[in-house]
């Protein structure tokens, strides 16, 4: 009898299992594929590895501006895939060590609920006082004719390419599509993005999304907004711009980046009576499902689908199941799009504040106010936007576009968590010279 069985060894699952293990609980984690889940194997980590190389490749091409003369570089995609595999391997060994150190038993196989206190792993039954479902998500497959064609990639197969494609058509202008767009663009592929909404980076603050679109278009990525993809035949994509006639375009590959969908099937959830739909498992702010002893965290709950949120949700669920008061707060969840330039955000967007009729004040400053930003870049631009309550000046949202913003957004998250006012935040000392000083400038301006 385990105190806890976790289904899924992605970030939400393995961190939760390790946390429970460190509390002295008897814990098992079930994984049907690789430790680390989507994030580590086919998501965040591979994507960032790829983007690191594409950035370096671009920087080499632009090195003359920094006073470095290099011969024309070329891109070795198989070498990049090998490096990615090496990085992933190192991190996976880290996960394995973490689970070993916290005495978590790893059950390899496909887990399935049998009742509210047992999990069957490839036919073998294991009992547990608590079950945490952290089964994650998989790439969504939209109902587009030909989406299953052999020239169509998804975010998993895109990491296995062996040659730089000449042209790529990306369906979806969300964070996955935009990160791949930046990568392929930088390694020399002609990139076109087809987005159904009138705006890219859905969920981002409008000013930031506008700026990102402007910068990416200026760089040479083509965007079709408010665009319907009608069908795919071989490597030809048929689409229709808003109000326009059907057109077609061909590309070496077509990348389906239309989002992700929770993995809720074949887990025995319905049979156990868990409140679940195609949009995910419904849980409360401690991660409880409607069925006692069954908990869920991460992508399978269908909320933000962010690895770091899954981690926190898993830990909150573990604390709650073992009587340690804890709860999720969703008003300071940072998110990053690792496009080039990268976008980092935390808290409310201006659109959300308007919709909620919250009175606010705002300040938008160029990243170039920070000396370090100018040092790091040649022609890139960026913005930092701060939103604060009109009456008391409590910081409600911080949105940034510009490289390195992902590394300082946590400071803004801490300010929001602490419900810090602009006046209080302006007492904080920012190291100089850092890009983070743009945040300080925005805070001072908003005051």
């Amino acid at each position: 009898m385990f105190d806890l069985i976790v289904i899924g060894a992605g970030p939400g699952g393995y961190e939760a299992a390790a946390h429970a293990g460190s509390l002295g609980k008897r814990v098992a984690v079930v994984e049907k594929a690789e430790l680390g889940g989507t994030c580590l194997n086919v998501g965040c980590i591979p994507a960032k590895t790829f983007l690191r190389s594409s950035r370096l490749f671009r920087e080499y091409r632009e090195a003359a501006a920094f006073g470095i003369i290099v011969n024309a570089p070329s891109f070795d995609l198989p070498a990049l895939v090998a490096r990615k595999d090496s990085v992933v391997g190192t991190l996976k060994r880290g996960v394995s060590a973490l689970l070993r150190d916290t005495s978590v038993e790893v059950l390899h196989g496909t887990g399935r609920l049998v009742g509210r206190n047992a999990v069957e792993v490839d036919g073998e039954r294991h009992e547990a006082a608590n079950i945490l479902v952290a089964s994650g998500s998989r790439p969504a497959v939209p109902p587009i004719p030909g989406i299953d064609g052999e020239r169509v990639l998804d975010s998993t197969s895109a990491f296995q390419l062996t040659a730089v494609p000449e042209r790529i058509a990306i369906i979806g202008g969300g964070y996955i599509g935009l990160e791949f767009a930046s990568f392929f663009h930088e390694i020399g592929t002609k990139v076109t993005v087809y987005e159904a909404l009138p705006m890219i980076a859905s969920g981002c603050d409008g000013d930031i999304a506008d700026e990102l679109l402007k910068i990416l278009r200026r760089g040479g990525i083509e965007f079709h907004l408010s665009c319907s993809v009608l069908g795919i035949e071989g490597s030809t994509l048929r689409y229709q711009d808003a109000g326009g006639a059907p057109e077609s375009d061909s590309a070496t590959y077509i990348l389906n980046a239309t989002g992700r969908t929770p993995v809720v099937s074949d887990l025995g959830l319905e049979e156990a009576g868990v409140d679940v739909s195609a949009r995910g498992i419904r849980v409360d702010e401690q991660g409880r499902t409607n069925v006692p002893n069954i908990w869920a965290c991460g992508d399978v709950t269908g909320r933000h689908m962010l690895a770091h949120m899954a981690v926190r949700e898993g830990i909150v669920a573990v604390n709650s199941m073992f009587g340690r008061p804890d709860r999720m707060r969703y008003d300071a969840v940072p998110a990053v799009i690792y496009s080039h330039p990268e976008v980092a955000m935390v808290g409310k967007t201006e659109e959300e504040l308007k919709a909620a009729a919250i009175d606010y004040r705002k300040a938008v400053v160029p990243m170039a106010l920070a000396g370090r930003f100018l040092v790091e870049h040649v022609k890139e631009t960026g913005l930092v936007k701060v939103l604060a309550g009109a009456a008391h000046g409590e910081i409600l949202g911080v949105h940034a576009i510009g490289d390195l913003s992902s590394e300082f957004i946590v400071a803004a998250g801490a300010m929001i968590e602490a419900e810090m006012t602009l006046a209080q935040a302006s007492e904080i000392i920012f190291p100089h010279p850092t890009v983070a000083e743009a945040l300080r400038a925005a805070i001072l301006k908003a005051q």
């Binding site: 105190d3 006082a129 608590n130 401690q286 006692p292 002893n293 709650s320 199941m321 073992f322 009587g323 340690r324 008061p325 804890d326 709860r327 707060r329 008003d331 309550g389 009456a391 008391h392 000046g393 409590e394 968590e417 602490a418 419900e419 810090m420 006012t421 006046a423 209080q424």
Partner: protein, 462 residues
């Protein structure tokens, strides 16, 4: 004869008291005035004394139990007397059970207060503490709680210096009060001291502090990092009724408290009403008489036919009123206003319509004279315009009846040939004071109203 001793009620708001410790045990001989046990409310401690000489025949609660007021706690009498009839009806909670019952109301599973033992923050259940904690989560969450595993080292306040009730509160909030003297006798720390300390030591964000300064109040525990109170944990202060709202509130409460109201629902054929209204709209030069005006006119005619509803009940005397002073409910920005058409039975439908229209305008503008709002003998309330299909109007005492007018809806009716026809009907909801008007007479009045409305075209000459 055996005498039960009950938990007294000390103070209007005290619903239960903590039985701190028995000074006498079962079988002890006592004299009148002897201290039986030490009790404690959230404000004070007191001694429970023996009302008569005798022997303690039975005690129904253990030390540390929460005892509802007016509940027997023990019985004193002569050895051998029966005591069962005095045993509290509901299952008697022992010290531990008493704690469990508190847990189930949403608080943490806390250790039973045990005088003489160290205050453990949260005691794990004997078997499977995790299960218990999970099934009764801390909804009042003190996020900065010490963990169940934490040993009860260095008790800040020695037992005895802190009342058990205060200790229980502190335990439930995993809070360790300071050693400062409390406000009880000899500096004893009472629950209110711990509450105050907890409130003053909870971290509060600057923005939340500003809101609190403007009167906002804390609702539950802080939900921020480390239990910090954030703006979302605050609620606005209660709003004081304005003069008019207060008057309405008082009148409505008096109405329901002083009468025996019941409501009958029926509906009348509205074909004539709608036809007449179309006719009025189609004839330029005629006054703009609304459906509501027409229904008011019909109601007045019905009241004249059933005068029992046109009466006032004042201090047990029924006053029959000669004139129909028709009050009608008006929705205004400041709340409900009821202007009165005096001697409404003397007006033609056009005159009635003109008068109601003028009074409505004045009500909305707030320019009604005092005379226009008094002496109503019967009231009309129309929510049909808002789509309401039936409701329970509240009588305006000392009146004895009120007629509510509902929306016009389509209803299928069986034709004589067996087929189905659709007819427009208007709903009627009449409330009567049963002290004066029984069900059948009320129903008869409602039938008269139905007849008048069904024959409105012949009743009203436009």
């Amino acid at each position: 004869m055996a005498t039960p001793v009950e938990m007294p009620k000390l103070g209007n708001t005290v619903e239960q008291c903590l039985l701190v410790a028995w000074h006498k045990r079962k079988g002890d001989a006592v004299c009148a005035g002897d201290i039986l046990a030490e009790m404690e409310t959230d404000k004070a401690t007191f001694d429970l004394t023996a009302p008569s000489d005798g022997t303690v025949l039975e005690v129904f609660f253990d030390d540390g139990a929460m005892v509802p007021v007016f509940t027997n706690v023990c019985v004193i009498g002569e050895v051998g007397e029966a005591i069962e009839e005095y045993r509290p009806k509901t299952p008697v909670p022992s010290a531990t059970a008493g704690t469990a019952s508190i847990s189930s109301s949403g608080n943490a599973p806390a250790a039973p207060a045990q005088p003489g033992t160290a205050g453990v923050a949260v005691s794990p259940a004997p078997d499977g503490g995790a299960d218990l904690a999970m099934s009764t989560p801390r909804s009042n969450g003190a996020w900065f709680a010490t963990q169940p595993a934490t040993p009860p080292e260095n008790i800040a306040v020695p037992v005895g210096r802190m009342s058990p009730r205060a200790r229980r509160f502190a335990d439930e909030h995993s809070f360790q009060p300071s050693r400062l003297p409390g406000s009880g006798p000899d500096g004893r720390i009472l629950e209110r001291d711990v509450r105050a300390q907890l409130a003053s030591t909870q971290p509060v964000s600057r923005a939340a502090r500003s809101l609190m300064d403007s009167g906002y109040e804390i609702r539950g525990a802080g939900t921020g990092v480390g239990g910090m109170i954030r703006t979302s944990d605050l609620v606005p202060p209660p709003v004081r009724f304005t003069g008019m709202r207060e008057r309405i509130a008082r009148r409505m409460e008096e109405s329901l408290a002083s009468t025996a109201q019941y409501t009958l629902h029926a509906s009348a054929d509205a074909t004539g009403l709608l036809a007449l209204r179309r006719e009025i709209k189609a004839s330029p030069g005629t006054p703009d008489i609304t459906i509501n005006d027409l229904v008011a006119f019909c109601a007045i005619q019905a009241v004249l036919e059933v005068p029992a509803v046109n009466a006032e009940l004042i201090e047990g005397r029924l006053y029959q009123r000669a004139h129909v002073n028709l009050g009608f409910a008006c929705d205004t920005a400041r709340g409900l206003v009821v202007p009165v058409v005096h001697r409404s039975e003397e007006l033609s439908v056009a005159e009635l319509s003109g008068r109601m229209s003028a009074l409505t305008t004045q009500a909305v503008e707030g320019t009604l004279g005092a005379d226009d709002m008094v002496d109503a003998t019967f009231t009309l309330s129309n929510l049909g315009g808002l789509g309401v299909e039936s409701f329970t109007p509240v009588i305006n005492p000392p009146q004895v009846a009120i007629l509510g007018v509902d929306a016009i809806t389509l209803r299928p009716v069986r034709k004589s040939d067996g087929g189905i026809d659709f007819v427009d009907v208007i709903g009627l909801s009449a409330t009567f004071d049963h002290q004066v008007i029984d069900g059948a007479p009320g129903a008869r009045f409602l039938n008269v109203v139905k007849e008048k409305i069904a024959s409105v075209q012949s009743l009203c000459s436009i």
